[in-house]
Symmetry: C2
Subunit: 147 residues, 2 copies
Amino acid sequence: MPQQSKKAKASKAKLQSAPFRRTRSDHSTELVEDYLELIADLIDVKGEARGTDVALRLGVANATVVKMLKRLQDKGFITQEPYRAVMLTTEGWEIAEKGRRRHAVVENFLLAIGVSSETARIDSEGIEHHVSEETLRMMARFTNRKS
Amino acid sequence: MPQQSKKAKASKAKLQSAPFRRTRSDHSTELVEDYLELIADLIDVKGEARGTDVALRLGVANATVVKMLKRLQDKGFITQEPYRAVMLTTEGWEIAEKGRRRHAVVENFLLAIGVSSETARIDSEGIEHHVSEETLRMMARFTNRKS
DNA sequence: GTTAAAATTTAGCCAAGGCTAAATTGAATT
DNA sequence: AATTCAATTTAGCCTTGGCTAAATTTTAAC
């Protein structure tokens, strides 16, 4: 099999690998968004977000949450004092809100195309992090037309 | 704040955490599917799948591919002899085909709702792994109706 | 005000998926 | 056939996101 030139290969690869690289780098961001969204929900519903609640909802051990919260604090998304509930910073709220918005758009869209509410709830959780603004716009447009 | 009973908490948590746990456990599966799909494509297009091509397309170092291919072999999805191209086993082909089918359904669906081809290509890559059979059916139905 | 229970944190472990650098093997050219 | 260059593999490292078990701190009940 004849070899392609190095340059040809490289440029082709750049194009091709972009989606994959994006998918992969998203993974760390996904978790952050899940945490922040959940914390925002807990604060709205229960008045505060405790580590244990986060752990329960995410289906993860307490220690895992502690570690993650420390990271969220380092990144400036939450504030916390030892043994107390966590607060979202302004930036934390912004990310959480953005996530909730995406989430809602995707979930409503799935409902609009006829998916059951249970499935819409589950699938939107997975999909929300991988949808570009453009796709989100199209989803919202479709949903609005249907309602 | 009054405490809920342990039982109430636990059952609520079980419900809530299901989607998250699924999203997380998917991550390992996702990569496997990406590799197998890509290998299948390479075999179809170029007649064989070499480690370097996989690395280039996934935007990942050679050594990373080697390690992953070893895992794919252990799981029985591919066969390989040292310094030679990899082959898909029957099971490997099945997974690759399933992935390609999902991928195609999602991509065509995105196109059908008006997303640009570039975005459809990118987003479908991320979304494909998080779509249930039910949602996939609805997407296919919608696409067929539009065409 | 003690004490018991629950929540939180710490410590230390593991596997997955990345990387670079160095060693090895295969293939192509001369 | 020897050499050179590209591909592959090995070795060793790192980070992330999990876990359990043990220690600590709050909170609630008495």
